[in-house]
Amino acid sequence: MPDKLKNEDLDPGNGASRHALAGVAEWTGRAVCAFFFGAASLAEFCGRLVVATFKAAFSRSIRSRLPDFPRVFARAGAEAVPVTMLVGFLLGFIIAYMSAAMLNRFGAEIYVANLVGLALVKELGVIVAAIVLSARSASAFAAEIGTMSVNDELAAMRTMGIDPVLYLALPRIVAGALALPLLSLFADLAGLVGGWLTLSFFGYSAKIFIAKAFEFCSAADLATSLAKGAVFGGVIAAAGCKCGLETGLGSDAVGRATTNAVVSSLVSFIALDGLYAILASVAGGG
């Protein structure tokens, strides 16, 4: 037996596979550590933001930033409406089309409306909006703030006694938190239209579709979805701002910050959504 083991140890193929296994384990370990360090870092950033906000709650620093808020809000919100509606519409259409093809065999295609309504209002509408916000705004925030960092504009702020976290991040995070629930409503609406379009091929009217779509959805579901959207929006914007504020030196660093912003914002809100689903399940809220 010891001889056999020794022979296996000497087998180059076996050594290579063990080496590969070790590599996978190392990579997994690093990825897990990076995820938790990233989450801790984002939580720390949010904590800094809360402290900074309270410290300057009634100071000129915050009041004077309000005029800047509409510009940021318009970019993150209003300008994102068309693409959010397009993605929502296609998603609703695809879900309805795929499920109708199956349910039609049992003569149950009307339940497509229930499925589309429930999925969009409770989950998918806010996720579509969150993905759009991550791709459009978190990256833009990181690039904008990162470029300012490279150009010494953040350093200039610090020498003036201005906290860039408060001055730059706060209006963007508030804009994200307000824009995402509204965007999710647009995604819901467009998705329902897409779903109805599919069912219309089966001869169902819009009135029937709407009645069925909201059969299992309550106002509480919508409110919960909007609340989730506000949290996701704030976290996505925070992730973008954080990556921008931590930008290193050079244009390459801005590119890396932008990529990190999209990845970390996507991972953050999906992790939060998963956490919410677990908590809701434990609490019996489904």
Binding site: R60, N151, D152, E153, A155, A156, R158, T159, M160, G161
Partner: protein, 272 residues
């Protein structure tokens, strides 16, 4: 580094302190790695003081440490008689001191999304009690001081590099600071614009009794404006010599210092 000579321009100790900028055993650098050791500066009020040295010697890092952007690795920085930064901690009243200093960065560091006038309003963000009209008036006045009165409503990208530097000086001046820090104000400018900036710096010292600390490579500019200078050496990572520029050029016991002023290539200079 020894005490700098006074030129008598400043208000002296009338307001309770003699030196506008003092450092005590200051080690500066990034990530625990020092680029300059044991920096001892004494800049009297009302002086124009230049930080000199070859590329990569750490003079910009020294200035960033003086203005609180880079924490000292060791030692202490005092501005206007108060401790401003110390290894391991920042002074409690650092915010109050910050309002009394103005900083111009090498590339201007103007906010690209704001007009020149809006840029000049930014330092007021932390100062309540002034109306928008007052702030705009002050901004226009400072822009006029640097010859940019007609450009107040333009964005930084719409003006030249030299104008951006002047606008950055205007922004640094809006709070009427006691100390003005300038990072290579003349770098990359044509001789005429550079001479104009020198005149402006001299005016700030003579008319407003402002202390100016600047990083510069431009010998003509240094001889035109500097009361005193300190030379940072890249090899020893220490401040080798200090004093009036003419004395450093002609009488410094350090070959590297004389070589710098006499534009002798480093390898040759080391042997002299």
């Amino acid at each position: 580094m020894g005490e700098m000579d006074s030129t008598g321009h400043g208000a002296g100790a009338a307001r309770g302190f003699e030196f506008a900028v003092e450092t005590f055993g200051l080690d500066v650098g990034y990530g625990g790695r020092a680029v300059q050791f044991g920096v001892e500066l004494r800049v009297r009020r009302g002086q124009i003081f230049v930080l000199l040295g070859g590329s990569g010697c750490g003079k910009s890092t020294v200035m960033r440490t003086l203005v609180g952007l880079v924490p000292p690795l060791r030692g202490r920085v005092a501005l206007l008689g108060e401790t401003f930064a110390e290894a391991g901690r920042e002074a409690d009243d650092a915010a109050a001191i910050r309002r009394r200093i103005g900083v111009m960065f090498q590339n201007g560091a103007l906010f690209g999304s704001k007009t020149l006038l809006e840029n000049c309003a930014v330092p007021f963000e932390t100062l309540p009690g002034r109306s928008r009209r007052e702030i705009a008036e002050i901004g226009r006045e400072k822009l006029a001081d640097v010859g940019l009165a007609d450009f107040a409503d333009l964005y930084p990208a719409q003006i030249s590099g030299g104008m951006q530097k002047r606008a950055a000086i205007a922004r640094a001046l809006v709070l009427d600071p006691d100390i003005l820090f300038l990072d290579e104000p003349s770098a990359g400018l044509d001789p005429v614009t550079s001479a104009g900036l020198d005149e402006l710096i001299l005016r700030l010292r003579d008319e407003r009794r402002m202390t100016v600390v600047m990083v510069s490579h431009e010998l003509s500019s240094i001889f035109a404006v500097a009361d005193n200078a300190v030379f940072f050496d890249r090899t020893t990572r220490t401040a080798l010599d200090s004093g009036p520029p003419a004395r450093l050029r002609d009488e410094s016991p350090y070959p590297a210092v004389r070589a710098f002023f006499n534009r002798i290539p480093e390898s040759t200079g080391r042997r002299t």
